[in-house]
């Protein structure tokens, strides 16, 4: 059950609500971590508009992948905010008026009646002062919202291939981007949301470019809070979506198919990849490299590797491994959570985590019918692999841990037929 906390009662800024669901785009406010109680000391300055978090969702990131940024308060939102504030103020007033005056009982005998009445008047004045202040506050909010105090965030339309985003803001596709001869969209700025809006980005035929490329090439500068949101189809690129050096970024509801790799992420922290369809890519479904604290949840990553070239270089260069045909390949990454994905029918492994990755939580996934292993933990430790609902019919083993006696990994409550070693995989 979602629990919402009202933070920053004394709103002094023109405010927008950032709700858990229902908005047109999805960005977690910079400076906030999942579970924080935002306060007025951390307003979100974006696109020239000041934002203050009113609502937030304290659930774990895996359960709450989307933070929604409201570009401008809709009428219903205004009504909602006003209603909440009005009710809150009313409650404050009622409580203030109905609260019994316990102080007067004990002090009656010790002090004179005049003193008591004076104190009563003083307390009532103070109480009314607070009520008036609250009413003034609400009135101010009403005036602010009724007027033009809240500037709308601009939404930039994208209609052509090769669109470069170099400034924060909201961007939305309003046409298919077909037969691109370069990247479809390049994102070079932080605090950006891109809504594919149901459109298609393709390269016509397999190309060496990228559908949506997030990150500044050949630069140590890191981006943050970039959100790519579908629905939308990206195909025929070397990668459908590539994210490099970006923190708190996310990709949701995107279909990436017939690319060399469906999606790749390199040197990213706190990435959230949720509810995407990464299928029928000729290489791998999703590559996660040198990244920590990410969440990969509720994705369909199936049928990848139909035309493996033999080897594919990892994003960022350096190591060259055979990643083709992997559903999800986790390389040199730690503390990631992989849950509720379907990783089936891939031509190598469903999920392969290499020896330099550790402390992953892998649970509630379906990994059936992969040509290699359903879930392969290849030499790394400290991982928890549990409650995976089905790992059956895979080519070599359903579940495999290459550590002796599973090392420091914990396998429990998984559903499978074959495993190696069978003594420690449960």
């Amino acid at each position: 059950m979602r629990k919402f906390t009202l933070a920053g009662r004394g709103l002094v800024h023109p405010c927008y609500a950032i709700g858990p669901f229902g908005g047109p785009s999805c960005l977690q406010p910079p400076g906030f971590s999942i579970g924080d109680s935002p306060t007025l000391s951390t307003p979100w300055q974006s696109g020239g508009s000041r934002m203050v978090v009113v609502w937030y969702d304290p659930r774990p990131a895996s359960l709450c992948p989307l933070w929604f940024q409201m570009a401008a308060p809709s009428q219903s939102l205004v009504i909602t905010v006003l209603t909440v504030l009005t009710v809150l103020t009313g409650l404050i007033s009622i409580v203030a008026l109905m609260k019994p005056n316990h102080d007067s009982v004990g002090s009656e005998g010790a002090r004179g009646r005049e003193t008591l009445q004076a104190r009563h008047r003083k307390k009532e004045n103070t109480r009314m002062k607070y009520i008036n202040r609250d009413l003034a506050f609400v009135t101010g909010i009403l005036i602010a919202l009724a007027g033009t105090a809240v500037p709308a965030l601009a939404v930039t339309s994208i209609t052509t291939c090769g669109f470069v985003i170099s400034a924060p803001g909201n961007y939305v596709l309003n046409a298919n981007l077909l037969n691109c001869t370069g990247d479809g969209i390049d994102v070079l700025a932080s605090n950006v949301s891109v809504n594919l809006n149901g459109y298609i980005i393709n390269a016509g035929s397999p190309s060496s470019f990228i559908g949506v490329n997030v990150g500044i090439p050949a630069s140590p500068i890191r981006l943050n809070h970039v959100g790519i949101q579908g629905s939308g189809l990206i195909k025929n690129f070397v990668a459908g979506v590539n994210i490099t050096r970006c923190d708190y970024c996310q990709v949701a509801l995107v279909t990436s198919a017939q690319n060399a790799n469906g999606m790749s992420a390199d040197h990213v922290n706190y990435i959230n990849v949720g509810s995407n369809v990464l299928v029928a890519n000729t290489g791998a479904g999703l590559l996660l490299s040198e990244s920590v604290n990410g969440v990969v949840a509720y994705n369909e990553i199936s049928g990848n590797g139909s035309s493996c070239p033999g080897s594919t270089s990892l994003p960022g260069g350096g190591t060259s491994l055979v990643v083709c045909g992997q559903g999800l390949f986790i390389e040199d990454s730690s503390a990631n959570t992989v849950n509720n994905n379907t990783l089936s029918g891939n031509l190598a492994n469903g999920l392969w985590q290499d020896h330099e990755s550790q402390f992953s939580r892998i649970y509630s996934n379906v990994t059936d019918g992969n040509a290699g292993v359903g879930i392969l933990i290849d030499g790394s430790g400290g991982n928890g692999i549990f409650n995976n609902t089905s790992s059956r019919g895979n080519g070599t083993f359903d579940l495999q841990d290459t550590n002796f006696a599973c090392g420091t990994n914990t396998w429990g409550s998984n559903v499978f037929f074959t495993s190696n070693p069978s003594t420690c995989i449960h």
Binding site: L233, V277, A280, D368, F417
Partner: protein, 319 residues
Amino acid sequence: MSLVKRVSAKFEGSKAALSLLGVSLIALAGNGVPAQAAFKSITTCNPTLAVSSGGSLINASGDYQLTSNLTQATVNTDCILITASNVSLKLNGYQITGPGGSFGTAAGIDVNPPSGPVNHVAIQGPGLIQDFSTGIALIYADFSQVDLVTAANNSAEGILGFNVTSLTVGSNVLVRNGEWGLLLNVSNGGTIQYNEVNGNGAVSAGSGGGIYLGGGSNANTVNNNTASGNGQQFGSVTVAAGIFVFADGNRVYGNSTDGNVLAGIQVASGATGNGIFNNTSVGNGMNDLEDDNTGCDSNVWSGNNFFTSNQPCVLRHVA
């Protein structure tokens, strides 16, 4: 009657009742009340020998079960052969493994009566059938059903139905089979639902995919299956779909058919009167949804979520 007589009569009656109970107990201790028929165990792959004789030929009605993994090392030889009606077979979580290799003619479980159709054959998992030509073959087996079975890495089909009426195939995992996960030919009135049919068609054959409703397979219901990532042939591909319909009057709804090499759902030329609705189909190689009949003929497409189709008569979901 005096009190003494009445007490004596009661006592005599009680003795008679106790005597009757004693006789009954003795009878029950013997063979008076037959126990519920026990499951007959199959412990080896020998389809030429009846189960009652230690083989794996089921030629009599009854309940059967696996109590260990079974392996068939001989090529082109079934593991379990069923030729009788009213049979239930529980796999009990065990595996049936064939010799593997290239195409053959054998099945892990072959329901194949030598004369006339059988009916009401139920095969229930969990259990894994692998490395045969076909995982489960049902031929002339009406009102039969297969549930909770995993059929993987068989060189042709996971489940094959031929001349089967009212077949139910539910909640199975049919993955990584060489041609089709499930293939029906000349089979009517069946229900195919809640199966995972992914990653099939991975051999160098010209045809392979998820679910195939072949010629004469009419009036079947195919719903709530996942048929994704099928048809990954390395060679040329002629047919590779998540769900391929080459028959009439079928209902195909609530399925997810993503990332198949050619089409997500394809209705072939000449197949009419089918209803295809409320499916999700994205990221397929050719068209997500495809109807090869001009103007979709009498096929009705509605409420589907997809990106690509070959005709405007294939209608999408309207929010």
